[in-house]
Amino acid sequence: MTSGLLATSKAVRHSERKSAVSAHDSRAAWLFISPWLIGFAIFTAWPLIYSGYLSLTDYDVINAPNFVGLDNYRQLAADPKIAQSLGNTLYYTVIQVPLHVLVALGLALLLQRAGRASGFFRTAFFLPKMTPPVAIGIMLLLLFNGQSGVINGVLGWFGFQGPSWTTDPNWVKPGLILMSLWTVGSSVIIVLAALREVPDHLHDAAKIDGANSWQRLVRITIPMIGGTLFFLLIVNTIASFQTFTEAYTAYFGSGNTTYSNDAALFYAIYLFQQGFEYLHMGYASAMAWVLFAIIMAVTVVQLVLSKKFVFYLGGHR
C-alpha cells in the first residue's frame, strides 16, 4: 500500500519535473554546453576528419597537400623504423603496464595496514607524480648512468656489476620502465580508495572459515577491486602506447649525437619526428591513424575481458 502510494507520488513529481522543462530551459542548456560543442567541432571533429584526409596526401606544410591515395600506408608497412618503434612501444607496454598495476596493488596493500602513519607514507609515494616528466627524463640519465649512477652504485654494494642502462640498447627500455614506476603514486591512491570499499565482513567471514591472508587476498580482495584494477590497466595501456616525454627528453633532441637511440624510439617519438622535424605531415597523419586503430582494438579487447572477469559491486556501474 504505502509503497504504491510512494510510487505514484514519485511518478507525479517526475511528470511535473518533465513538464517544467520548457523550451526556455532547453535553450539555456544548449548555451551552457556551447563551449564544448564549439570546441568539439573545431578541435576534435574537424582535426579527426582532416587528419584522415592528410593521411592520404603528401604534405610538407609549405606546398598544398598532394593526394597520393594509400601510398603513405603502403610506405608505412615497409618502413623498418615503423616496425622498430612499434616493437619498442609494445615491449614497453606489455612489461610496464602489468608491472605498474602490480606495484600499485602491492604498495596500496602495504599502505592499507599502515594505520595512522598511512598519510605520511602516502605523501612519500605520491610526491614523484608531481615531478615534470622532463625532469624525470633527466633524472633517468643521472641515476641510471652506467659508471656513476646511484643505481649501479647500490648494485655494487651487493656485488653486482650493473649494466649501462642509458647506452646499452638491451637495457634502455628496462631503465625507462623502472624509472616510470617511480610515478606509480596516483595509481596507489586509486587502489587504496578501492580497498577501503571492500566490506570488512567478507574478510571476517573468511577468517572464521580459516582462510589465510594470501587466500583472502586472491579470493576476496582482488576480485572485489577487479573493476579498479581493470580501469588502471586500460588507462595505463592507452597512456603507454603514447609514451613520449621521458624517453624523448633523455634520448632525443638536438643534444644527443653520441650514441644510438634506436632502442628508445617509441611510436609517438617517431611520429613527432616525421611530423615536426621532417615535416612529413601526411605520413605522420597516417601513423596517427594506425596508432588510433591499435589503441581502439586493444581497448575493446580489454573491455570485453573485463566484462568477463570482473565482479562489479552493486552491479549498477
Partner: protein, 321 residues
C-alpha cells in the same frame, strides 16, 4: 553493466586450496575444529609481530626509494661541477654558485613568467568552461543529452596524436605558432575529463535547492554562479590544481609551438639546457641538475598547498568511473 555475482574468478583457482567451500558444511569433529582454532591463536602473536615489522620495513624502504631521487637532485644542485656525481647525500663542498650560474646562462625569469602566464590562463579557462558544460549536462534535461555526453566521454579515449597535426595547422593558419596562445587557448572550450568530473559532483547536489531558487525567481545563470559553483568548490579547486600541474609540466605542445628561447616555458627551456649543457658536449650537468630542481619545486609546493584535494580527487577517479 552486468553483474556476475557469485562467480568466482576463473583464474588462480588451482593455485589455492579451496577455502570458503560450501559454508554450512559442519566441521568434521567439533574437537578438531577447536584444536585448529587454538593452534591459530597460539601462533598468531609471533606471526603478526613478524608481519608488522616486515611491513614497516617495507614501507620505510619504499618511502626512501620514492623520496631519495629528490634528495639526490637537490643535494647535487649544491655541489660544484666536479662533485655532482659523487652520490653523497650531503655535499662535500657546499656552493650556491649553480643557482647563480643558471640564472646568468639561461633566461630563467622569462621562462618562469611564460609558464606562469600559460598555467594560470590554462587552469582558469578550463575550469570555467568545463564547469559551465558540466552544469549544462547535470542540471538540464534536453533532447540528445545522453548521446552528447557519451560523445564527451568518448573523446577522452581519443589519442592526442590523431588531432595533433590538424590542430597545429589551425593555429598556424591563425598565425599563432611561435606564441604562447596555442598552449592554453584550447582550454576555452572545456576538457572532457574535467567535464566528467565536475558533472559527477553537480549530480550529487540536492536538486530541491535549485528548484526552490527557481521558484524564487532566480534565472539559470544566477543559479549556476551563486548556488551551484560555490557548492562545488572542492571539485573546482581540484580542476584548477590538476590543470595547473598538467600545463606546468607539458613538453609536447611547447616543442610543437614554441620557436624562440624567449618564448619557452620552463619544461621546454629545461630540455634546451639538457641538450646544450648535458650530453650536448659541454658536460655541465650541475646546470641541468639545478634547472631541474627549479622546475620541480613549484609543483612540490603546489602539492603541499592542495594535498587534501589531490589525494581525494585522485582516489575518486578509480572508483566513481
Amino acid at each position: 553493466m552486468t553483474a556476475v555475482e557469485g562467480t568466482p574468478p576463473a583464474a588462480s583457482t588451482p593455485l589455492v586450496a579451496p577455502v570458503a567451500e560450501p559454508l554450512p558444511s559442519s566441521p568434521a569433529t567439533p574437537a578438531a575444529g577447536a584444536k585448529a582454532a587454538q593452534g591459530r591463536q597460539r601462533r598468531r602473536p609471533v606471526a603478526s609481530w613478524l608481519g608488522v615489522t616486515l611491513r614497516w620495513l617495507a614501507l620505510l624502504a619504499f618511502s626512501l626509494l620514492f623520496v631519495y631521487p629528490f634528495l639526490w637532485l637537490v643535494s647535487a644542485s649544491f655541489k660544484p661541477r666536479s662533485e655532482v656525481f659523487d652520490n653523497r647525500l650531503i655535499p662535500r663542498t657546499f656552493t650556491f654558485d649553480n643557482y647563480l650560474q643558471v640564472w646568468r646562462e639561461a633566461p630563467l625569469g622569462v621562462w618562469m613568467l611564460n609558464t606562469v602566464i600559460v598555467t594560470v590562463l590554462a587552469a582558469l579557462t578550463v575550469t570555467i568552461s568545463s564547469a559551465m558544460v558540466a552544469w549544462g549536462f547535470a542540471y538540464f534535461q534536453f533532447r540528445g543529452r545522453k548521446a552528447l555526453f557519451g560523445l564527451v566521454v568518448a573523446t577522452m579515449m581519443l589519442p592526442g596524436a590523431v588531432t595533433l597535426i590538424p590542430t597545429f595547422l589551425i593555429w598556424k593558419s591563425l598565425g599563432m605558432v611561435g606564441t604562447l596562445t596555442p598552449l592554453w587557448a584550447g582550454n576555452l572550450f572545456g576538457s572532457a575529463f574535467y567535464i566528467f568530473l565536475l558533472r559527477q559532483f553537480f549530480l550529487g547536489l540536492p536538486r530541491e535547492l535549485f528548484e526552490a531558487a527557481k521558484i524564487d525567481g532566480a534565472n539559470n545563470w544566477t543559479i549556476f554562479v551563486r548556488l551551484a559553483l560555490p557548492l562545488c568548490k572542492p571539485a573546482i579547486i581540484l580542476t584548477l590544481l590538476f590543470e595547473f600541474q598538467a600545463a606546468w609540466t607539458d613538453l609536447m605542445r611547447a616543442l610543437v609551438y614554441l620557436r624562440d628561447s624567449s618564448d619557452f616555458t620552463v619544461p621546454r627551456g629545461l630540455k634546451a639546457l639538457l641538450d646544450r649543457y648535458g650530453f650536448g658536449g659541454e658536460w655541465h650537468w650541475e646546470i641541468v641538475v639545478t634547472a631541474s630542481v627549479i622546475t620541480t619545486v613549484p609543483m612540490i609546493v603546489l602539492f603541499f598547498l592542495g594535498q587534501r584535494h589531490f589525494v581525494g580527487g585522485i582516489a575518486g577517479t578509480g572508483t566513481k568511473g
